[in-house]
Structures are given as C-alpha cells and as structure tokens.
Symmetry: C2
Subunit: 214 residues, 2 copies
DNA sequence: ATTATCTATAGATCTATAGATAATGC
DNA sequence: ATTATCTATAGATCTATAGATAATGC
C-alpha cells in the first residue's frame, strides 16, 4: 500500500487515519515550537519533541520522516498564525482616512504577540531543505502582500499620494520589517519604548516616509 | 603555569606565543566563517574547520576550548569588519548638506558587501553562550551608534530638524535595519532592484521619515 | 626542555528504524 | 487483520582530549 499524504501538508505518514494525523501533528508542532524557541532547532532532540508531544520516539516517526519535517511543520504553523493574526487585524480596522494608522498598529501588535515565533523564523529558516525554505519565503511574501493591498487601496481612494507599484511594495516591506525589528531588536528597544510608544513613533516615521513621495 | 589569554580576545589558549595565537586564530576565523556561511554553525564540524584552516583537530583545540569559541571569534571578526567598513565609509563622505545621503549610501554598500556576514550574525547569534551573545549585541549597538552621531551632528548644524534623543536613536536603528533588510530579503529585493536603485529609493524614504518630524 | 602539532580514540550523543506489543473493528 | 504505538538499538556521527611525535632554542 502506498504512503498517503495528509490533507494539510505534503509530508508522508505511515498512519492511515487523517484526523489522527492532524491531531498528532498539532501535538508535535505545539511541543516542538516551544522547544525550538527555548533551545533552538539543533539543540532540540527528536526524543525531547516526542516526549513533550506525549508519545514515544517511535510514534513520532510515524508522523514525520525526519527532524526537518518537524521544523517545516512548525514554520508553516507560525505563518498560518501570523497570517491569521494579520487578517484579523485587517478586519478590525474601521476604514476611512486613518486606515493606514490602524493597520500599522494592528500589524505591529501581531508582531509583538508573536515575537518568539517571528524570531524563530528568522533564525531557523536556513536549516530547512531548499524547497521548503522557498515555501517559507513565499509565505513571508504573502503576508507582506496584505500590506501592499491596503496601501494600494489607499492610493486608489486618494488618501495616499500615488506612487508606482515597486515603491508601494517596498513601503510594504519596510513596514513589515520595522514590525519584525521589534522582535529582533527588542533587547534594545524595550529599554526605551513600550510597544505602544514604539508603534506611535514608527507610525509617524512611516507616514512621513510615504507623504513625502509626491 | 597558568593559561594565558591572547591579547585580542578573552579565550584561553595552551599556546604561549601570542603572535602565533593571533595568526592561527585568523586562519581559524577565515576558514570557519566560510563554512558557517555555507552550511551553518551546527552542520559544520570541528574537523572541517581544522582541515580548512590547514591543521589538525588536535591543534584546533590548542587555540580554542570549544566549538562555540570559534563562533564567537567569527562574530567578533565580522563586527570588526563591519565597523571598519562603516568607519571607512564615514571618512569618505565629503561633508556638507548631503552628508546623510552619502552616509546612507556608504552604509548600505557596506551591508551589500558584507551581506553573508550580516546574515550569519542574524542566524547564529543565538547559538552563543549568554555572555558572548550580549557582547555581540553591544557591538551591534556600537555600529548603530556611529549613525546616531552623524545624525546628531546634522541636527546640531541645523541641517536636520531637531528631535529628541530617543527619536534620533530610533531613526539610526531604522537606517541600520533597512540596510540589513537588503541582506535578509535579498531573495525578493534583488528581483526588483539593483543595490543602487535600492539605495536611491530607501534614501528618499528615510529623508521623508526625518523631514516630516518638525 | 619547552613549545607546538599530530594521531588515535574515548565517551557521549542523536537520528531513524526494526521488530514486538497493544488496541480496534470485523 | 489492521492500525497505531512502544521498546530497544543499530549505525553514524561529533566533540574534546590523552598521549605520542616533531620542531625549536638553550
């Protein structure tokens, strides 16, 4: 009998029951994410992952084929979470002229809440095999894409000065990275700013950045 | 007889001749940096480092006490290089009103040249033991400090609108990170921009960011 | 004699799997 | 009978060191 891919991922498994696969993999991801954040990918052993997930090392390997599979599952989970966070944030914005301010605020708050996850992506993406690393980067792009759309909408409605697509995308990347900056420079920033202060000041900067482009 | 620290670092060595220590450690750093960039810290073995440096595994351990020592030496080397690059860039600026534009340009070019190194710092700093990680972060801060001084100078001379110290430092961090962004989003940016284009557009954005703060 | 280097390997992992056992459903 | 899980371990590392050897300087 052939190996049967789970519905949600492309990782082969020996286990037939797809619901069980999903459930167990959720356990694996939850346990592994915590361990990777605390110790890093390489210092975490497959045994630790299995134990933290609540089953044996043998069972772990029924649901993944390698340790790297686990890392990929974790990265995918993180992006899903971040994307969900961003989508939720977009819905919460009330619309109108202040949309950009609200979007920045909500996006930065997502970065704040998911600080550890985002940091993990920055640090461990390289440990993934090529194809999967590419997919992680595409996910990154998808999240930036949400920001691009918001900006494009504001340009269309005349609330932002028009600019060409490339510049618009770069602004989106800048916003995205300034959000991440809160995670990877927190050791410095948190000494001077609360997240609210940080958002306020950076929002001013970002607005200035765009306003000037006439 | 006691272990004797080398002149340049705090890492103990069994070897008495300080010049030799410096020379061998330079070999180690050069070899290890290449390997870490290509394979990552954890996938590189001490044997590979020794071989690439041109001596045996036994000798390697005369100059360092652990694999992590090697990583620290590499990180320190990278910061020295980047700091040197930035310092050189500062000297090359001609002064006057356009200083900021030039400084941004030179700094971004340093990031461009040292792309691989900077990426390595982002990815492997966490693998360092606590004390050294802290030192790496201090070095990071020192480099940002150079930008702070340039900005402060421009504010003092009236070429930039005055702003409080905290904002000024945040601008410096933003510039610093937007430089790094070229290294860790290169997979995307290089599809749309040459480094010169990137510098041009980001410079406009940064100027806008500051100009607006009156 | 002292310093630097090398070879050989101890000791400690860690990933992944084979084969045995338990649980489930016909 | 089939599916899921567990235990035990093969096999493959890898770091760090001990002890032997070579080179240098008195």
């Amino acid at each position: 009998m052939h190996e049967q891919p789970s519905r949600t991922h492309d990782i082969p498994t020996q286990v037939k029951n797809p619901d069980l696969v999903d459930r167990r993999r959720r356990q694996i991801v939850e346990a592994a994410a915590k361990l990777f954040i605390a110790q890093g990918f390489h210092k975490t052993t497959t045994r630790q992952i299995a134990r933290a997930a609540g089953f044996s090392i043998g069972s772990l390997y029924e649901y993944v084929t390698s340790k790297e599979d686990v890392l990929y599952l974790v990265c995918e989970f993180i992006h899903t979470e971040v994307a969900r966070g961003v989508a939720g944030a977009m819905q919460r914005t009330t619309g109108g002229k202040e949309v950009l301010v609200e979007v920045i605020r909500e996006y930065f708050l997502v970065c704040h809440r998911m600080s550890d996850f985002i940091l993990l992506i920055y640090q461990e993406t390289r440990s993934l095999p090529g194809v999967w690393r590419k997919r992680v980067l595409e996910n990154e792009l998808r999240i930036t894409g949400v920001l691009v759309e918001v900006l494009a909408g504001l340009v269309a409605s005349g609330d932002l000065p028009s600019m060409n697509n490339e510049k618009l995308e770069l602004v989106a990347h800048n916003i995205s990275v300034l959000g991440h900056m809160w995670t990877f420079r927190r050791w410095y920033l948190a000494r001077h700013y609360s997240i609210d202060d940080y958002i306020r000041v950076q929002t001013d900067f970002i607005i200035g950045m765009i306003a000037r482009q006439v």
